[in-house]
Symmetry: none
Subunit: 131 residues, 4 copies
Amino acid sequence: MRIEPNSVVPIFQQIVDGIRAAVAAGVYKPGDAIPSVRAQAVASLVNPNTVQRAYEQLERDGLITGRKGLGMIVQTNGRAIALSGTATALSATFAQAIQLGQEAGFSRPAIDKIYRQSWADAPESSGRSKT
Amino acid sequence: MRIEPNSVVPIFQQIVDGIRAAVAAGVYKPGDAIPSVRAQAVASLVNPNTVQRAYEQLERDGLITGRKGLGMIVQTNGRAIALSGTATALSATFAQAIQLGQEAGFSRPAIDKIYRQSWADAPESSGRSKT
Amino acid sequence: MRIEPNSVVPIFQQIVDGIRAAVAAGVYKPGDAIPSVRAQAVASLVNPNTVQRAYEQLERDGLITGRKGLGMIVQTNGRAIALSGTATALSATFAQAIQLGQEAGFSRPAIDKIYRQSWADAPESSGRSKT
Amino acid sequence: MRIEPNSVVPIFQQIVDGIRAAVAAGVYKPGDAIPSVRAQAVASLVNPNTVQRAYEQLERDGLITGRKGLGMIVQTNGRAIALSGTATALSATFAQAIQLGQEAGFSRPAIDKIYRQSWADAPESSGRSKT
DNA sequence: GTGGTCTAGACCACT
DNA sequence: GTGGTCTAGACCACT
């Protein structure tokens, strides 16, 4: 998981987003354990406390649950929660960009063009898409 | 200008984005003064220091220039800088959303659908757009 | 007189320095009137209050004196005061640069080289020098 | 680091100059942390916000980079940036003094003499220089 | 502890 | 009034 340390979005939030996306993508399925706090911390070059905070958030969201000695397990309905949560996050981000563009006087076609250009600039999705 | 105090995007950055959009939209034209630090602070219910910080950023970007006693003036090429800066900001936001969607396994059509839905949810742009 | 509005040295100080240099150079001789506050303000694209403040400083230094209806007159010993004042200002500026260079670990030859290079970069002095 | 609170050069700029000189001199090497905002504030008898402002400037210059919880780290190419920045600052200061001297009608030998005299007045550099 | 952001209030140079 | 700088004190994310 790529963490951008100087982003305006807090690191723990980036981890929340990343795990949620991975569950949505089926990388971790219901009943699977997600990486341990320590493993995730090493992988993301981040302090374990920060990962811990992200996992607490995901637990509050009902996506995972902690079982002593077993680590954090994806809940039965975890994928549905992840898909819905990711869609909501995307929607909010799009809405924010659209609003900023409108305030600047950009027409819908102009904003659509920037959106399409952002796809062209995106790294390959490598055909793994599921939805 | 609407400020969302609890957003992850810092208040001063919201002001930067807002002024840039206003200059891009032609609300303030080259040679015009933008609202004074104090006036903007009152209007946005924000501390003058926070506005000052936003204006410093805009000055570094070459969009405005400040003179003591006179206010902050939009530069000759301010509109071009604002248009380019706004487009860049939009592009970055879109790219971030697209990447998150791809990580979650969303197909391009699925993400496009969320994008279009975000337009439906957006407040009316009232047809004033020029570009 | 060239004023740099965004310099760290205050505008009124730049005017003080400029008038003092002009008196030192003999542009204004003892008994001459220096430009009126209004004329100087127009010439320097500066507010008259700012020029007024500079002239008050020069009067406190004994370089000029105000005579009702006559404007500001260069004192009898004005040139000596101007020469001494300018030399002091130069000395202080040099000392400041030398100290900064030494703190950065620059040797005397290295600093001397930068000093000579600054001469090469200087606009022509046009051979009017008197001292 | 000596701060002169009543100088025309802003305190935050004095801190910028001081840190840059220290990096140029090799006091802080690439990978080292410079003093924390709070530590520097205490050492310089200055408000933490003022130090913060100086560090932001140095970060924009590419000399250091900040990470929450870790401190401000000198960049790999920090020393080169510091050397170049210090030389530029010296050059600007010299140029300013030379110009003022020329306006006052001082000849090059006269200004050179003041420059050399400023060395005589400077506190000993104790022969530690390396360049 | 460490950087990043923010509020509250002040003084200065300049118009 | 207007921008620029500074102090004092606070909270947050991160280590």
